[in-house]
């Protein structure tokens, strides 16, 4: 009982110290967090991040991109989106499988950029800014499945 009391007082002191010195979250970070609500979506149509060369480095990235670049792969059922960030971050090269004509929206928290997808399922975006990114792949053919990739930081 006595030991318990001392332990709780020590915890109380620790908590006070925490409140005194904990770094407040910057206002703009809070604003971004509140705003993320607008991106509320239905996870069913999501292509999950299956591979990220930053985390899962097994030499595949070096093989595919010649080294020093980042490779991401998203999958949803039988569909896949591969993204290579090359030229020291200045170029984003995408590949959608199965390939078909269409367009892709590169969604950032505060803007959306569009790129065309060719018949081989390839697309290109120049100078993608660092930060959170999600791709929305829209096939040209009516009734084609829309693919959305999980948000990831590039």
């Amino acid at each position: 009982m006595r030991d318990d009391g001392y332990e709780l007082e020590a915890l109380d002191r620790e908590l006070r110290e925490l409140f005194a010195r904990v770094e407040p979250v910057p206002a703009h970070v809070m604003d971004q967090a509140y705003s993320a609500f607008a991106w509320r979506g239905v996870a069913a149509s999501l292509a999950g991040l299956e591979y990220d060369s930053i985390i899962d480095d097994d030499g595949l990235a070096r093989l595919r991109t010649g080294g020093g670049e980042r490779l991401l792969r998203f999958r949803s059922g039988g569909s896949m989106v591969e993204v290579s960030i090359v030229d020291e971050g200045h170029r984003l090269v995408g590949q959608i499988t199965p390939p078909e004509y269409g367009r892709v929206e590169m969604r950032r928290p505060d803007q959306v950029r569009e790129a065309l997808v060719d018949e081989a399922g390839r697309f290109l975006v120049d100078d993608p800014a660092p930060g959170a990114m999600s791709l929305r792949c829209l096939p040209a053919a009516p009734g084609g499945a829309v693919l959305e990739t999980e948000w990831v930081t590039i």
Partner: protein, 190 residues
């Protein structure tokens, strides 16, 4: 709260942000990230949360999910940074000197994250009380009025809340808790 946010309540979403933004920030900074990288961790984590919120309808899972996601993203971004640096021998030597200091600072920060994560999982009533008690040396009478609590209950409630906090922390530290269900008994409680 999570259910309400999933159903479109912006106020519920804001309440979740208010409760957990600090922990996410602490996790990112504990990874050694500077404020702009930590901001990216926070943003991606909340965007992912918005994406997955339908699947996270069980409020109890939200706390652990947020911390786990933030931690993964923080590791990801910390490696991104390393890839951009040209590592030369002199930098490497200087870095090793700093490592001992950094290790101690990191231990401190880890403990701080555990404390913040556990605190965030406490019921509203406990968080309000402990925060009010820590913020100022107001009398129990003043606090009782402000928090709408009988004065006689403040002491015992404080002790119970600290005990809850202690229990959450030791479970987290001992790793006995599945991070996905952490806070299950707490977040739900009125």
């Amino acid at each position: 709260m999570v259910r309400a946010a999933a159903d479109g309540s912006e106020a519920a979403w804001a309440a979740l942000v208010d409760r957990f933004a600090g922990v996410i920030w602490a996790v990112a900074r504990a990874q050694g990230l500077d404020p702009s990288d930590a901001a990216d961790v926070s943003q991606t984590t909340w965007l992912r949360f918005a994406e997955h919120i339908d699947q996270l309808r069980e409020a109890e899972r939200a706390a652990g999910w947020l911390v786990t996601t933030a931690r993964r993203e923080a590791v990801r971004i910390s490696r991104l940074g390393a890839r951009h640096l040209l590592v030369d021998p002199w930098t490497e030597l200087a870095r090793r000197d700093e490592e001992v200091e950094i290790d101690e600072a990191l231990l401190d920060q880890e403990r701080s994250v555990v404390l913040q994560q556990s605190f965030a999982a406490l019921p509203d009533r406990c968080r309000r009380l402990l925060q009010a008690l820590a913020a100022e040396d107001a009398s129990y009478a003043d606090l009782g009025q402000r928090l709408d609590m009988p004065v006689g209950s403040i002491g015992p409630t404080r002790a119970r809340c600290l005990e809850k906090l202690r229990a959450l922390m030791s479970r987290l530290e001992e790793g006995q808790l599945n991070p996905l269900t952490f806070g299950k008994d707490q977040v739900h409680e009125r």
